[in-house]
Structure formats: structure tokens, C-alpha cells
């Protein structure tokens, strides 16, 4: 259906917006048809909400609300296809997302992630250290956590976990790492802060992993609550661990693989596998520098209709093709989560 190998060859951030849009629209249109054909729910929404005239732009294609994955079990595979259902790691009082991933989607996700991250990793590394407890990860294999760790494992020959079964930092493992080793660290943003940085500050030790690279993702909510900004966070990581390369990413279980990588200048970038749009309160497309609701599109989901979704995140496009980091395409900022709508009316909340 989609020639993914061609996309891999083009490079994740090399095409300018005009070239990219051509390829992207052509391919996502195929996904649009595919999901209409194979997912009843998607078809219902597409046919109801989006007039049938021929679509010319990505902006006109049908999209669905991300929360729908919590309410419904959406899938676009033929009966009998083997799928794994991933769940978002929500808190106990919110429903979990259910994402149905078949082998093909899973492979494409892994390869795309590789394609995106190799732009900064350049080569495979000897080791990756996860700021997780192996026990917890194994318990939650089919979760956002599990999916992320699985995706990142492929970048190193060997994986190790930095937290013990009680989710405490294992100093012995950390101390064993040689300072000049070319390794990868991966952790969720709140874990990097809470489990690593805070513990190291308390113990008053410093490291110098100058050749290592740190990836983190999952959102800044917990850090923002503590009023810790990106600059301070990165400075602490650099000063305490000696890490020079730190990359955040914006991603979600509904679009595993096609993550939006943060560049050296603090902007998230859409790759060839994904696109970003921002919509206002009338669901119209916002111009650059206008805040709105983030819509994410991805070429990877074939086994479930997650290729075009309206998120619950706020953001704004900051520019196209002209980021100082040299990556082409759209780049953007995120402004946290939408607050819950205040419900007026006769029902109690």
C-alpha cells in the first residue's frame, strides 16, 4: 500500500514542506481509504463529518478524537489477524486507550523510529540504559512504557535497567558505566527528574558520561508543577551527568514510532512519517504562532485508525523549513494539556 522503503530512503527530516506534503498527502490518502474500508467506526465518522468531495489537502481528510480509543475498540484488520492490544498507562480513574497493533504495523513503527533517531545517533550503540525497573516493564509490556522501551531497545546491542524492583536508582549499575562509553540513556521525563536527577543531587555525586545521549519523553506536566523549566532541567542533567546530547520527543501510544523529535533549539519537528496541524475552536487550521489544539497525522498505523487524530494537547506551529537546526518541515511548541471542559447543565459533577 504505502512504499515505506521509499520513505526510509528519503530521510526523516530532509524534504522541504512542499515536497513532503506531496508524498505525505498521497500516502495518507491511501490510509484514509484503507481505514474507511476496514474500520466501521472510522467510516461512520468520516462519512458523517467530512463531506464527500474529493480531498486535495491533508487538512480536509477525516480525523477522529484521540479519546475515542479509550471508549471504543477500534481496529482495521481482517478477522483472525493476530494483534497485540496496547494500553495507555492511565491512572486508575481514567479509562485506558486500547491500540490494536498487528505485526506489520509494529515492524513499520520500529523501522520508522530507527530512521528518525538515527539522524542524531548516527550509529548503533553498545548499550542502552533504561530509567525503569525491569520488573515493572515486564508487568506492563503492552503499555506506552513497554512500547517505548521495545522501540528504543533496537538502538543498542544490550539493554540494562537502572531502577531496582522497588523503582529505586541502582547506584551500582550507574557507577559501573565508564565515563567515555558511547551509550544511550532513555527515560520518561518525570522519571529522569524524580528517579535520577533528584537522587543524584541528594547523594551529591557527579558523573561524566560525555559521549552518551539521553532520550526522554512523556510530557513535562510533573516538572511544570514543580516549576522546573527545560533550561534548568537540561543544565542539571549536563552538570550532574556530563551528558551533552539530550533529546525530548512528543509522541503517544496512538502513534507509536512516528515521534516528533525535539531539536537542539527546543522545537519539536515533524518527520516524513508524520505531520502536525493546529486547530482553533472552530476546528479551522491555525496559522503559525497561533495556539490551538494539536492534530497529529501519521503514516504508520494500518491495523487501527490512528493515522489522523485530534489530540488533547495545546500547541502552536513556530515555523516551516527554516529552523536553525537545519531540519526541514514544520516545527512546533507544546503548551500542555487542554483542561477539562466545564460542564454546565443539570447533571452533577
Amino acid at each position: 500500500m504505502i512504499d515505506y522503503n521509499l520513505l526510509f530512503k528519503k530521510g526523516a527530516f530532509k524534504l522541504n514542506q512542499i515536497e513532503k506534503e506531496k508524498i505525505f498527502f498521497n500516502n495518507i490518502s491511501k490510509l484514509d481509504i484503507h481505514h474507511k474500508k476496514n474500520c466501521k467506526e472510522f467510516k461512520l465518522i468520516a462519512n458523517s463529518f467530512f463531506p464527500k468531495e474529493k480531498k486535495k489537502k491533508l487538512e480536509e481528510l477525516p480525523f477522529i478524537h484521540v479519546r475515542l480509543f479509550k471508549e471504543k475498540n477500534l481496529s482495521s484488520v481482517k478477522k483472525g489477524t493476530k494483534i497485540s492490544t496496547y494500553n495507555s498507562s492511565g491512572t486508575s480513574n481514567t479509562k485506558l486507550s486500547k491500540i490494536n497493533i498487528d505485526r506489520f504495523t509494529s515492524l513499520v513503527q520500529s523501522k520508522s523510529l530507527l530512521n528518525i533517531l538515527m539522524t542524531v545517533l548516527k550509529t548503533k550503540r553498545k548499550k542502552i540504559y533504561f530509567l525503569e525497573s525491569e520488573k515493572k516493564v515486564n508487568e506492563k509490556y503492552y503499555s506506552a512504557k513497554g512500547a517505548a522501551i521495545n522501540g528504543f531497545k533496537q538502538f543498542a546491542d544490550k539493554a540494562e535497567f537502572l531502577l531496582d524492583k522497588n523503582e529505586k536508582l541502582n547506584f551500582k549499575t550507574l557507577k559501573r558505566i565508564k565515563s567515555n562509553e558511547k551509550i544511550i540513556f532513555f527515560g520518561f521525563t518525570n522519571m529522569v527528574w524524580g528517579k535520577l536527577i533528584k537522587t543524584i543531587i541528594k547523594k551529591k555525586i557527579k558523573f561524566n558520561f560525555k559521549n552518551s545521549i539521553l532520550f526522554h519523553g512523556g510530557g513535562w506536566k510533573k516538572l511544570e508543577e514543580k516549576k522546573i523549566r527545560r533550561e534548568k532541567f537540561y543544565r542539571l542533567i549536563h552538570n550532574l551527568l556530563g551528558i551533552n546530547q539530550i533529546y525530548d520527543y512528543y509522541g503517544m501510544i496512538e502513534q507509536t514510532g512516528s515521534i516528533f523529535l525535539e531539536c537542539e533549539y527546543g522545537y519539536y519537528h515533524a518527520s516524513i512519517f508524520s505531520e502536525i496541524n493546529v486547530r482553533n475552536n472552530k476546528l479551522e487550521i491555525c496559522k503559525s504562532n497561533q495556539k490551538g489544539i494539536i492534530q497529529v497525522s501519521s503514516l504508520l498505523p494500518t491495523s487501527y485508525p490512528g493515522h489522523n487524530i485530534l489530540t488533547e494537547d495545546l500547541g502552536e506551529i513556530k515555523g516551516i523549513d527554516n529552523c536553525k537546526c537545519g531540519r526541514k518541515g514544520k516545527y512546533f511548541k507544546i503548551h500542555g494539556r487542554l483542561s477539562q471542559a466545564e460542564i454546565r447543565g443539570c447533571s452533577n459533577v
Binding site: E41, S48, I64, L68, K282, I343, R344, C346, S347, N348
Partner: protein, 396 residues
């Protein structure tokens, strides 16, 4: 009796009169109307339409008019416990007034959200209660708030002779769990939905100016409370053949108003889009949704047969289902007992009531002219609140 650290008493205290009062007690009417006067004379308070409309309802002349409908020898039940919805600021005032007028002592749980108009009203009530002549009334009411607590609700429920439970299905079911006195009578306000009917023939005769006025009324009915109120119309039925250009003009006027007045913030946009997604799937049918700016979404359904039910449409924030029907009685199979308000244009209300009765409709408790969907009344949701909250002593 109920003292608890977690209960915050806003007005009055728990030392209430145990004996019931006669209905429409003169002092009660004087008390309520003096509050009404105070509100109506306050320039600043006019910015709260709901407070103003409560005050208008509780004018002395209106209360006396209502009184005339009742047998003066009715008497209250005793202690009334009111659970007001957390997000309708003035509902508690209305509930309390009816509790007093029907001869009860009242414990009212205030909305959990501190609305300015609720606070202002409490201040006025407090001020009036300081007057010597209202000292007895002071022992008839206690306004409290507490964070959702089954323990407290259960304790007060135990003493209540009647409970007035607003807040929809979930709250009603929750309060049913608590043990009450065997004779305790509950007035339950569960989830309801509402819709509109338009007499196409009469509508076609309107000039554009009049259509514009009608649109304004419909806008008020729909967008008060962001279309999430139980009386907010969610569907429009055009009865008979409507002229297309006039119908489209009607909608254009609504869109214009919504564009100017309806504050659809990003959170509401998201909730609205999500609800629409869910509704479409639950209906298991595609229907053409058309919207010019998403503030007003129209779901056009070809015939009434394609309609599963109105209550499945939860969208709110400006979503309307519309279809044509040939006569009002066509609605009889579609409407469930949850249907509450039918706002109408171009009919004689008595005739509609007869159609509803003749066809044995399961629902419809209110038949209201366009623009008055949220008007308060002592008859609500099919209950005569005064009669329900009081006793009749029968003579044989």
C-alpha cells in the same frame, strides 16, 4: 444534630422547627418577595440573568398568583433535604423557595462551585434573616455545603421527610442507596432531554425579520447552559414542508448569534468533537453533519425512521439534529419517558397537549413557547412540586 467539621454552614443553622408549616404562609411569601425586591432593585445584579429571572419569578404578585391554584389547608411534610446540582447556580434558590412555600423546614446543599450569583443571593438571604420579623423563617432553613460525602448525605437523609434530588441519574441513584424514613417521599430529577417543533406552514408565512426574532429565541433556549441543560433543545422537527430559503435563513441567524455570543473555548471544542464522534458511532449510522464554523453543527436526518433516539445524542455545545415530519403524532414512537420539554412555534399549546394525550406519549412534561425553555415553574418535570412536598388532609 448534624454537626460535622466537614459541613460548612453558609446560612442559618441546624436548629430547625420540627413542626410543619401551612403552605403559602404569608410570612414566607413576604420573606421571598422581599428578597426578590432587593435583587430587582440592584443595578449591579442585573448582569446575572439567572438571578434576575429567579427574582422575577418570586415577585409577590407571582407567588400570590401561584397560591391561588392551591387548597390553603395543605400542610408541609416536615424536613426537606435539597440536593442542588453543582453547576446550575440558581437551582438551589428555586428549590428552597418551593420547600418553604410548601410548608417545610429546609436543609439545602449548595452547589459545589462557588458561583458569584449564589454567593450574592446567600448574602441577601442572610441580611433578610437578621430582621426581627423573619426570625421564625430563620428556623426554617439551613444552607450548607460539603465536599461530596456519602457519610454526610446519608446522615441528613435519615432525618428527612422529603428529599428533592437534582443532579441527574447518577445523583438520584446514589441517594437511593441511603436509608430514609419509611414515609420519606423523594422528588427525583433524573436526566432528561428536550427538543423543538416548528409549524412549517406558519413559519413559511414569517418575514425575514420575524424569522430573525424566532432564531434569537431558539438561540436563548439552546445556548443557555451550553446546550447541556435538560431543557435545552437538541433536535428540531419541522412539521410539514418548510421553504428551504427561509429555513436556511433561520440557521444563518443562529450561526450569527453563536459566532457573536457563544464562548466555545478549546476545551469545549474538544469535548464537542469527542461527543460527536461517540454519538455517530453509537447511532451506528452516518448522518450528514454540516457546519460552517463548528459553533453550530447540524445533523440532517432524512426521515424520522432513521432516528434511533434523541437521548443518544449527547453532544451539546451547539449540536442540532433536524428532520421533517408530517404531523406531531409521528413523534410518539420516538420519544421516551426521558423527553421533557417541547418548545414550539406556530401552534396552539392546548392542541399540542391534546395530541400528546390522544397518542399516549410516553414523555413530554412541558410544552413551552419558543424562548421560554428555562422559565421556572412550581410544576417541573411532570411533578407539582408544591403538592408533592405537602400533605392533604382528606375529609370523608
Amino acid at each position: 444534630m448534624f454537626s460535622n467539621k466537614k459541613i460548612n454552614i453558609a446560612v442559618g443553622n441546624f436548629d430547625l422547627i420540627k413542626k410543619p408549616n401551612l403552605i403559602f404562609d404569608d410570612l414566607v411569601i413576604e420573606f421571598l418577595s422581599s428578597i426578590s425586591r432587593e435583587i430587582l432593585n440592584d443595578k449591579y445584579l442585573k448582569i446575572f440573568p439567572d438571578l434576575y429571572s429567579y427574582a422575577f419569578w418570586s415577585r409577590k404578585s407571582n407567588l400570590i398568583k401561584i397560591k391561588k391554584n392551591y387548597d390553603k389547608t395543605r400542610i408541609g411534610r416536615g424536613l426537606a433535604f435539597h440536593i442542588s446540582p453543582s453547576n446550575v447556580p440558581m437551582n438551589f434558590a428555586f428549590s428552597l423557595a418551593l420547600g418553604l412555600l410548601s410548608g417545610n423546614s429546609n436543609i439545602v446543599r449548595l452547589p459545589s462551585i462557588n458561583f458569584i450569583q449564589s454567593i450574592e443571593l446567600c448574602k441577601i438571604i442572610k441580611k433578610k434573616l437578621k430582621k426581627k420579623k423573619f426570625q421564625i423563617i430563620k428556623k426554617r432553613l439551613c444552607l450548607i455545603n460539603y465536599l461530596r460525602s456519602d457519610k454526610i448525605s446519608e446522615k441528613i437523609s435519615k432525618y428527612a421527610d422529603t428529599r428533592i434530588i437534582w443532579g441527574g441519574d447518577e445523583t438520584v441513584q446514589n441517594f437511593k442507596k441511603f436509608l430514609t424514613k419509611p414515609r420519606c417521599l423523594d422528588l427525583n430529577f433524573s436526566n432528561r432531554y428536550s427538543f423543538s417543533i416548528i409549524n412549517s406552514k406558519k413559519f413559511n408565512e414569517l418575514n425575514f425579520n420575524k424569522i430573525s426574532n424566532l432564531a434569537r429565541k431558539f438561540y436563548t433556549d439552546s445556548f443557555t447552559m451550553d446546550q447541556n441543560g435538560c431543557s435545552s433543545p437538541k433536535a428540531i422537527f419541522w412539521v410539514g414542508n418548510v421553504l428551504k430559503n427561509k429555513k436556511e435563513f433561520f440557521w444563518k441567524e443562529i450561526i450569527k448569534l453563536a459566532d457573536k455570543l457563544f464562548d466555545l473555548d478549546l476545551s469545549k471544542t474538544s469535548a464537542k468533537f469527542y461527543n460527536l464522534n461517540k454519538d455517530i458511532i453509537n447511532q451506528n449510522k452516518s448522518a450528514l453533519h454540516s457546519y460552517e464554523n463548528f459553533k453550530v453543527v447540524r445533523i440532517k436526518i432524512k426521515t424520522i425512521k432513521e432516528f434511533k433516539s434523541i437521548e443518544d445524542i449527547q453532544s451539546g455545545y451547539g449540536v442540532f439534529v433536524e428532520t421533517n415530519i408530517s404531523k406531531i403524532s409521528n413523534l410518539s414512537d420516538l420519544l421516551s419517558s426521558r423527553s421533557q420539554t417541547m418548545t414550539y412555534f406556530g401552534y396552539d399549546k392546548k392542541k399540542i397537549k391534546n395530541i400528546v394525550l390522544d397518542n399516549r406519549f410516553k414523555g413530554i412534561d412541558r410544552i413551552v413557547e419558543f424562548g421560554n425553555a428555562f422559565n421556572m415553574s412550581h410544576i417541573w418535570d411532570g411533578f407539582d412540586v408544591i403538592n408533592t412536598l405537602s400533605r392533604e388532609i382528606s375529609l370523608h
